[in-house]
Symmetry: C2
Subunit: 198 residues, 2 copies
């Protein structure tokens, strides 16, 4: 039973992704979602309390997937400097790719759920910071990084790259993957220079 | 005549600041604004096309004042490293202080004018970037900074600190001036380490 509950929930989030892409957040209704998955409207409320709850869960899932990718990069056998650069790029580009197909309506979604999302983002930030702190610690122990405060540095690295997350980009910028890739790459290098200095 | 036009416009923006603080953006009306300044409602429309136009002009004025401060810091006789650190802190803290008194309703304002503001922010960003590029160039010429690409670096420095601008902060964070000051200071140091390295 538990498995199938999770399947329906997951199917609803997949459908959310498609509907956001097709119609945007404003036009998305619980009825559409139920129809898209082939269940009754009431069943949607077994899993989610509201349309906003669905949108937030959809974003939660993107972040869970991102964390898996970051942990995978962190566990590689390459230098800490290289892994850090790849993790900084991934945290931007993975999110970028996750919302790319509904970039036109992203502003609409974000302005509607802004207050709840800001709260949520604090938690995402702390979870990501733990992954980055682990690598910074490893880099210091390996003698690759200067002896900085691990947690402060992890937070500073995330803060510094937050401005390139989709949330902070305009619709036009969301269309320019190569440009964003160039910017995060240059920024990651500047930050890592600061860590490897001295 | 031109002088008095500017005075009325300026008085309207001062009144906007007070009304944002007192009532928030949603409750602010053109009638209130006119009454606050002691002019007729029609006269407000001689200067501004809409409530949104007023809010955006109010933000424009904050940025103009900030640019004056940044140019002042850039022209000091201290080391480029020190001036750069002070400019990075100023770009965050000056904005922070400018909206501090209506931090409770800032989210409301920002979500209402988000699309126009995102467009506007591109221009602000370029104007600030020119000021920072000037200092980076000076630092390279003085042998203080590594020979980086001046414009790319100016952009990266702004990008890296954008996440601490009020626009990206939650209401709670807007109440924590000391915490924000600590964060921007740590971030500025990491970035400047990256520039002075090698």
């Amino acid at each position: 039973m538990k498995g199938s509950t999770r399947d329906v929930k997951s199917a609803l989030l997949d459908a959310t992704d498609r509907l956001l892409s097709r119609n945007g957040y404003r036009k998305m209704t619980i009825d559409d979602l139920a129809a898209e998955v082939g269940i009754g409207k009431g069943s949607v409320y077994l899993h989610f309390t509201s349309k906003e709850d669905i949108a937030l869960s959809h974003i939660d899932r993107i972040i869970e997937r991102l964390k898996t990718r970051l942990a995978e990069i962190a566990s590689r056998k390459t230098s800490c400097e290289r892994r850090l650069k790849e993790m900084l790029i991934e945290r931007v580009i993975f999110r970028f790719d996750s919302v790319q197909h509904y970039s036109q309506s992203l502003n609409d979604l974000l302005s509607k759920i802004r207050p709840s999302l800001l709260e949520r983002r604090k938690r995402y930030f702390e979870e990501e910071a733990r992954l980055f702190a682990g690598l910074v610690k490893e880099g210091i122990e390996a003698g690759e990084f200067a002896k900085v405060n691990v947690n402060d540095t992890a937070h500073a690295l995330l803060l510094a790259t937050n401005s390139l997350l989709p949330y902070s980009l305009s619709t036009q910028e969301l269309g320019e993957r190569r440009e964003i890739q160039k910017r995060i790459s240059a920024l990651a290098e500047l930050l890592i220079n600061g860590l490897t200095a001295r």
